[in-house]
């Protein structure tokens, strides 16, 4: 059995000697505060290491590369690119793609990469700065590829990425992780920036744009720009939100659940459970705080000592290792 948030809250209330609730709605203020503290403690413990109980996997299908030769630029800012092949842009996804459009302004900007947002199946809004003006003729060459994919909100850290080709022959690739600098350097050395093939590299980069909570969602970048592929990835998930009016299960296994409790109790004894709020009982609470903190540390050590958590390999991309070396040896970053 896994422990629920209600059960944890009841345990915490009993530990600090206040009435315990039978449900998660209509909590008293101390009960509500304890539920938040349990949530914070749970998240803190889950964030400490790549525990096996956080391992997860998922998949998505890529938006395929497309190109054409009949685009036109309309509008006056924001500008619109029209005449794309139907289905090139996908609502909600195309924001994360890149396009190059043939230059018509003699400014030598034919390789300029612009970001496009979906407007319709055949038109997109140019989001990047655009100083080439409009172009009514439908004769511009264009190339579009979507290299970035916003991962679901429950993805905390990506562990591995596989890519299965949906093309002329079966290819099942284990993608290599690289830094964004390395990925851009690879692209810059190609004849065409938006180069289309089955991806070989990935980079887990910035968080997605938009309002909360999407701005805490990871973005996975692929290179080369993919054609239609199925991407399967393993990850460590974000822990369940314990501060919840509905019943949810803690991710931390039962054998270490007392660490979650003790972490919350330490927060309680150092705030609400001490001083005037705690009344006469508060006088003993500094000692109880020391006790629960010690217990918390002990259980955490047991948790980190388990081979499946403690033996996780530290991984960096080779360039990061080089930068770390220079920083350590020369006291500066490059």
């Amino acid at each position: 059995m896994s422990t629920t948030n209600l059960q944890l809250l009841q345990d915490a209330c009993m530990a600090v000697n206040i009435g315990y609730p039978s449900g998660l709605v209509g909590l008293s203020r101390p009960q509500d505060a304890l539920l938040r503290m349990l949530d914070e403690s749970h998240k803190r413990i889950c964030g400490m290491a790549d525990g096996y109980f956080l391992q997860s996997w998922s998949y998505f299908t890529t938006v395929p590369y497309a190109s054409g030769s009949a685009a036109q630029i309309t509008g006056s800012g924001p500008y619109t690119v029209a005449g794309l092949t139907a289905g090139t842009l996908v609502s909600g996804k195309s924001l994360n793609g890149k396009m190059t459009i043939e230059d018509y302004s003699a400014k030598g900007k034919g390789k300029d990469v612009v970001r496009i947002d979906y407007a319709s199946g055949t038109t997109g809004t140019i989001l990047s700065p655009w100083d080439r003006g409009a172009h009514a003729s439908t004769d511009l060459d264009w190339v579009y590829g979507q290299d970035e994919y916003i991962l679901p909100n429950d993805v905390e850290r990506v562990s591995w990425v596989l890519c299965t080709r949906n093309g002329p022959s079966e290819r099942h690739i284990f993608l290599e992780p690289v830094s964004i600098e390395t990925m851009e350097r690879i692209r810059a050395n190609r004849s065409a920036y938006v180069y289309n093939a089955q991806p070989n590299f990935y980079c887990v980069m910035r968080h997605g744009d938009g309002s909360f909570p999407q701005n805490y969602a990871r973005t996975l970048a692929l290179d080369p720009f993919p054609y239609k592929c199925t991407v399967i990835y393993g990850f460590m998930k974000k822990p369940a939100i314990i501060y919840n009016a509905s019943t949810v299960y803690a991710d931390v296994p039962d054998k270490w659940i007392q660490a979650v409790l003790d972490g919350a109790l330490a927060s309680y004894y150092s705030t609400l459970g001490m001083g005037a709020e705690a009344g006469a009982a508060g006088q003993d609470n500094p000692q109880r705080l020391v006790e629960v903190q010690q217990s918390y540390q002990e259980i955490r050590q047991e948790m980190l000592a388990e081979a499946r958590i403690g033996k996780e390999t530290f991984k960096v991309d080779p360039e990061s290792a080089t930068r770390m070396f220079y920083r350590d040896e020369l006291g500066r970053n490059f």
């Binding site: 530990a15 315990y20 690739i173 270490w256 047991e302």
Partner: protein
């Protein structure tokens, strides 16, 4: 005589200050409820502390074979699967989660694309994550490489060797395992059938249903016959939340369980740090005795110095 969960709670109620006994854990007093919950947590915590011989268990895992046959694919719906290798083993009454859930699917109409079977709705029907070939009846290959571990699986017997079969099997790190069967791992075809030689573990903890959140055993090559392999592991202890459940910790160590639980009761409920300290000292001392008496057998894994709370 071994103590049941009810016995243990009543013993602790008495030692904690002559609190009233309870006749059943189904309707406990506040003190009994707190002791019962902490007893359960302490029991599980002690079981997770070290490589206890009395938690060792072996269970069989049924591998399911690659299915080669014909099926109709329309959109992402797969139906009318027909094969002499077997079916998708789906029975909503007894086994609502087919062992072929998330199996790999390769269909003839197309260019050798690989899909995932995201749901199974009957012995011969399911749903693909996507589909790019032409609709219609065609040859299909359905291959499962990930299998549920026993529901009481807690951790493997050894960190890097815990599955045996009448042939040789080798543990691999998850990334090494996944890389080995890809094109850049020099595999020309992903669907490679045979006796599984390599295995690893990866979790499915983002599953929607709580019951499906568990570790899964991944094997490679994909099983051609679907034989049974044996997994060796430390089991999860039972929940000590009902009257007649017994701890898995041997009787002779009951004091450790009682002292650990009373430590928390005195610390939290009674706010008596002297008695809490005394119970903790006893628990620590008894734990050292327990660790010193771990039975030694020829295949017992070496204990890691940091793998206990000494």
């Amino acid at each position: 005589m071994a103590y049941s969960a009810l016995d243990l709670v009543n013993i602790m109620l008495q030692r904690a200050g002559n609190y009233a006994r309870v006749t059943t854990l189904a309707s406990p007093t506040d003190e009994a409820l707190y002791l019962m919950r902490q007893l359960d947590y302490c029991h599980k915590r002690i079981c997770g502390m070290a490589s206890w011989d009395w938690l060792r268990k072996s269970s069989e895992i049924q591998l399911y074979p690659v299915i080669e046959g014909t099926a109709t694919i329309t959109g992402t719906a797969l139906s009318s699967l027909s094969s002499t290798d077997g079916d998708l083993v789906y029975d909503v009454a007894t086994d609502p989660v087919s062992p072929y859930r998330y199996a790999w699917v390769q269909a003839a109409n197309g260019s050798g694309e690989l899909y995932r079977l995201t749901a199974v709705s009957a012995d011969d029907a399911g749903t693909l994550n996507d589909y790019y070939g032409s609709n219609g009846s065609q040859a299909v290959t359905i291959a499962q490489d990930a299998f549920d571990l026993p529901s009481d699986f807690d951790r493997p017997l050894n960190a890097d060797s815990f599955v045996t079969a009448p042939w040789s099997m080798r543990w691999m790190d998850p990334e090494e395992f996944l890389r080995s069967r890809t094109t850049n791992g020099r595999r020309t075809s992903f669907i490679s059938q045979g006796k599984p030689q390599n295995y690893t573990l990866w979790g499915e903890n983002n599953a929607t249903a709580q019951a499906n959140k568990r570790m899964r055993l991944l094997v490679d090559p994909l099983p051609d016959v679907g034989e049974t392999v044996m997994i060796h592991y430390y089991k999860k202890p039972p929940d000590l939340l009902s009257d007649s459940v017994y701890p898995v910790i041997p009787d002779k160590y009951s004091d450790v369980l009682i002292s650990f639980t009373l430590y928390r009761f005195f610390r939290d409920r009674v706010m008596d740090l002297n008695r809490a300290g005394a119970q903790k000292a006893i628990a620590q001392q008894e734990l050292q005795v327990m660790l010193g008496q771990v039975e030694r057998t020829s295949d017992r894994p070496s204990m890691q110095p940091t793998n206990y709370r000494g």
